[in-house]
């Protein structure tokens, strides 16, 4: 397994790295300067040596000019030995113009391969002429004549010793300098990076979650500004966190309130369900209690009708024979038709009671098979009006405006009649003084593909408070006048069962408009399915109150 080397935290610190870079750079620079110094010194030493040697050789060549010309070997030897006494000179030799060495002197310390060879020419002055030329006035020219050469061999061992001394001195001074500068750098970096450390400490503390921590760094430099910025950021974060906490608390409170509201709604629904269950039981009981006498009434009606049909020929004979007579204070001819008609009405209304009761039972037990019947809205209106004919008040004017070309829709005509009867009755009871006008109209809204029935009155209108509770069961403003509080509740249920909607809009003091809109295209069963799918019970009010 590969071992992973980890640097200690101090080695990874900015201060250490900076110190490393500084000391490394100083060491490199010191080494470079020391090398440059040593090289320059050695080069200069060598150059000085060569210059000294050339100077010695030049002096010797000048001094040896005459002795060489005079071939004075002793004088040349003396001169050469004098030059050879210089410490840097290893050997001196003088040769004439032919290259023959006249004098050669050596030094015992000579080491082969460690010397500088130097040759300087010995020249006679060129500006001198023979006496004839001088007397003839020749112009002198600088043309020197070589009469010999001085050969010098210089010792360079001093250069090597000097190199060693220089290297040693440079190393010592360079090391001392490096140590001093490194110590100085460390102190400077310590002061400089102290601010960084404070900044980093503050940032780490803030980063660990302590937003109330602050970087305690003063100054107008970049670090000071950074510290101020971080402090400001931490303060802002702290403020945001406090705000968040506050918002969370508010949210919790709101959620608690919402739960309580929901609880209230659930409780209301439970109460409503309980009410509906009770209502179903009541309706079943009522249906049973009503159906028995109603069956007797219908039977009686039938019997009366049949008996009257049998009696009429007999009474016609009597009338023809004896003339006019009265039945129950009514002339026979008037009573003859009215009795038959009343008997028929008894039967019809009895049947109607039976259907209503059946409808209530269906509602109570959840029946809905009648929705697949054909429904002609105008026929439903006429039927409703005929039912209400006996309850029509003299002071209330009923206007009907039935539209044409209204398509037949799927639905229960008896249930829609019940809705219309409820709405018309409500409209007729909306007048404070019992006088008013009720307008009933039907039409087809082709744009929305809906059959619309509107019942409008110019009564007192509905207050806003009442408007909000209109569709609650058992809520009624006419309980003292025999209201059950179930009319609109049942009506909106029926309309919803047909996939339509019941809308009530009212202006207080000006009247109320009730609008029933039933769709023509959609299948009501599908409507119910869609409503259930959307989380809405089919029995929920699909009404609008405006």
């Amino acid at each position: 397994m590969r071992k992973k080397y980890r640097l200690s935290p101090y080695a990874k610190s900015f201060r250490f790295r900076l110190y490393l870079i500084f000391t490394g750079t100083i060491a490199l620079l010191t080494a470079a300067f020391a090398s440059f110094y040593v090289m320059t010194e050695i080069k200069g030493y060598r150059s000085n040596l060569e210059r000294e040697g050339r100077l010695l050789a030049t002096i010797l060549s000048q001094n040896a000019r005459l002795p060489l010309f005079a071939e004075n070997r002793d004088a040349l030897t003396l001169l050469a030995e004098g030059t050879a006494r210089y410490p840097s000179v290893l050997a001196v030799s003088i040769s004439n113009a032919d290259g023959r060495f006249v004098v050669e002197t050596g030094n015992s310390k000579e080491r082969p391969g460690d010397a500088i060879e130097m040759v300087v020419e010995i020249t006679s002055p060129g500006q001198l002429f023979s006496p004839e030329s001088v007397l003839l006035g020749h112009v002198s020219v600088d043309e020197e004549r070589v009469i010999g050469r001085v050969h010098l061999r210089l010792d360079t061992s001093g250069a090597r010793e000097r190199l060693i001394r220089l290297v040693a001195a440079s190393l010592a001074i360079g090391t001392l300098f490096w140590i001093l500068v490194s110590l100085l750098c460390y102190q400077i970096l310590k002061r400089v990076t102290a601010s960084f450390n404070m900044l980093m400490g503050g940032i780490e503390e803030i980063g660990s979650g302590n937003l109330s921590a602050r970087v305690d760094l003063d100054g107008d430099d970049e670090l000071g500004r950074a510290a101020n910025a971080i402090n400001a950021m931490a303060a802002s974060l702290e403020l945001r966190e406090l705000e968040n906490l506050s918002l969370q608390e508010e949210l919790l409170k709101a959620m608690k309130l919402e739960v309580q509201e929901e609880k209230k709604r659930v409780m209301a629904r439970l109460i409503h369900t309980n009410k509906m269950t009770s209502l179903g039981l009541l309706l079943s009981s009522m249906a049973h209690e009503i159906n028995n006498p109603n069956a007797s009434i219908r039977f009686s009606g039938h019997m009366i009708g049949k008996m009257w049909a049998d009696v009429v020929p007999l009474l016609d004979g009597v009338w023809q024979e004896e003339g006019e007579f009265y039945l129950g204070g009514v002339p026979f001819q008037t009573a003859r038709g009215a009795l038959a008609e009343n008997a028929a009405k008894i039967v019809e209304n009895s049947e109607r009671i039976a259907r209503v009761v059946q409808g209530l039972r269906d509602y109570g037990v959840g029946g809905g098979s009648q929705l697949r019947q054909r429904l002609e809205i105008n026929a439903a209106v006429s039927a409703a009006l005929s039912v209400l004919a006996c309850q029509m008040k003299r002071d209330v004017q009923l206007n009907t405006c039935l539209g044409t070309g209204i398509p037949v829709i799927a639905g229960s005509q008896q249930q829609i009649e019940q809705v219309l009867i409820n709405l018309i009755l409500n409209a007729m009871q909306a007048f404070a003084d019992g006088r008013g006008e009720v307008t009933l109209s039907t039409r087809y809204d082709s744009a929305a593909a809906e059959v619309v029935v509107e019942v409008k009155d110019n009564g007192t209108g509905i207050s806003a408070e009442t408007m909000g509770r209109l569709f609650e069961p058992f809520y009624s403003t006419k309980l003292e006048r025999g209201g059950s509080g179930l009319g609109l509740y049942i009506s909106q249920f029926i309309v919803a069962e047909h996939g339509g909607r019941l809308q009530l809009s009212s202006v207080l003091g000006q009247g109320t408009l009730a609008r029933v809109a039933l769709p023509t295209a959609a299948d009501p069963s599908m409507r119910s399915m869609v409503a259930a799918k959307d989380g809405q019970h089919p029995s929920d009010a699909l009404h609008e109150v405006g």
Binding site: R65, L66, F69, A70, N72, S130, P131, V134, L136, H138
Partner: protein
């Protein structure tokens, strides 16, 4: 091209009859030299006779005998040693010489030499206060002159300390032999004693021994010479012109002896003289 022109001119001179070019003085000049030209200019200034100038260096081989035979000059003026030598090859025409360093005396030959009269130098040594004067010389070249000098010196207080040199390389050693024995050095225009290589030995000696060097040309003053007695080449020409005029006027050659230059130009290096603590009198002729 230059050679062709010279050959063509020489051919004309040798072959063409020149009766119309009759003249009195034939000037034979060794070569084109500034010193020679100055002397000839001085000669022309004094001698108004008709003359023809022949520069020997312009010819491959000038036949002086033929020229004198055909052109009959009354006098030949030889300028320089070589010209004198050529002129002395003929015998019919008298020869006057100048600017010749080593004239060989013969019959029908006289002129102005280049060596100053020794008494001029001795006067300077007197003025410098030098009693012992060292002289290096080649007996073959300057022996006669030294004899005259010694004769002149014997008449005065100056004592000449002579050293003979037979080769130029002996000069430094001979000078060294004079160490402590002389008060001044007399530098002669002797090619053996004064060679280009050994010249500075005189001045090194002068510096070392603190003795002045009296020399024959002012060029040596810049090297350390104290006093220089120099000739005036133009005046030498004039001096010879007067001599030629006398010859042309009928004075026999034997009556006209050879003369040294009459005009001397004395120059001194004041710094050297001051340093050597020597007093120099006003120079001049």
């Amino acid at each position: 091209m230059q050679l062709l022109r010279i050959l063509f001119t020489g051919l004309l001179l040798l072959l063409a009859p020149l009766p119309a070019l009759a003249y009195d003085v034939l000037v034979l000049q060794s070569m084109h030299e500034k010193g020679y030209d100055e002397a000839v200019t001085g000669f022309r200034r004094e001698c108004r006779a008709s003359m023809r100038k022949v520069v020997l260096s312009d010819y491959a081989e000038a036949d002086v005998k033929r020229i004198t035979r055909e052109e009959h000059p009354r006098l030949i003026v030889a300028v320089g040693d070589r010209a004198l030598e050529m002129a002395q090859k003929q015998s019919g025409t008298p020869v006057l010489y100048m600017m010749a360093l080593q004239p060989r005396p013969s019959n029908g030959t006289t002129g102005v030499g280049m060596l100053l009269d020794p008494s001029r130098y001795l006067a300077v040594f007197d003025a410098l206060g030098a009693r012992r004067v060292g002289v290096l010389y080649d007996p073959a070249l300057s022996g006669a002159y030294l004899k005259r000098a010694q004769a002149a010196a014997s008449r005065g207080v100056t004592d000449l300390v002579l050293r003979e040199v037979h080769a130029a390389k002996e000069t430094p050693a001979m000078l060294q032999s004079l160490r402590g024995k002389v008060d001044a050095i007399w530098m002669l225009p002797d090619p053996t004693a004064v060679s280009p290589a050994s010249t500075e030995a005189y001045f090194l000696f002068s510096q070392g021994e603190m003795v002045p060097v009296v020399t024959f040309a002012d060029v040596y003053l810049s090297m350390g010479g104290a006093v220089a007695l120099t000739i005036d080449r133009f005046d030498i020409g004039r001096q010879l012109g007067e001599m030629a005029q006398r010859v042309l006027d009928g004075t026999p050659m034997e009556a006209i002896p050879a003369e040294p230059p009459r005009r001397v130009v004395t120059k001194s290096n004041d710094g050297v003289v001051r340093r050597l603590k020597a007093n120099l009198g006003t120079g001049g002729r």
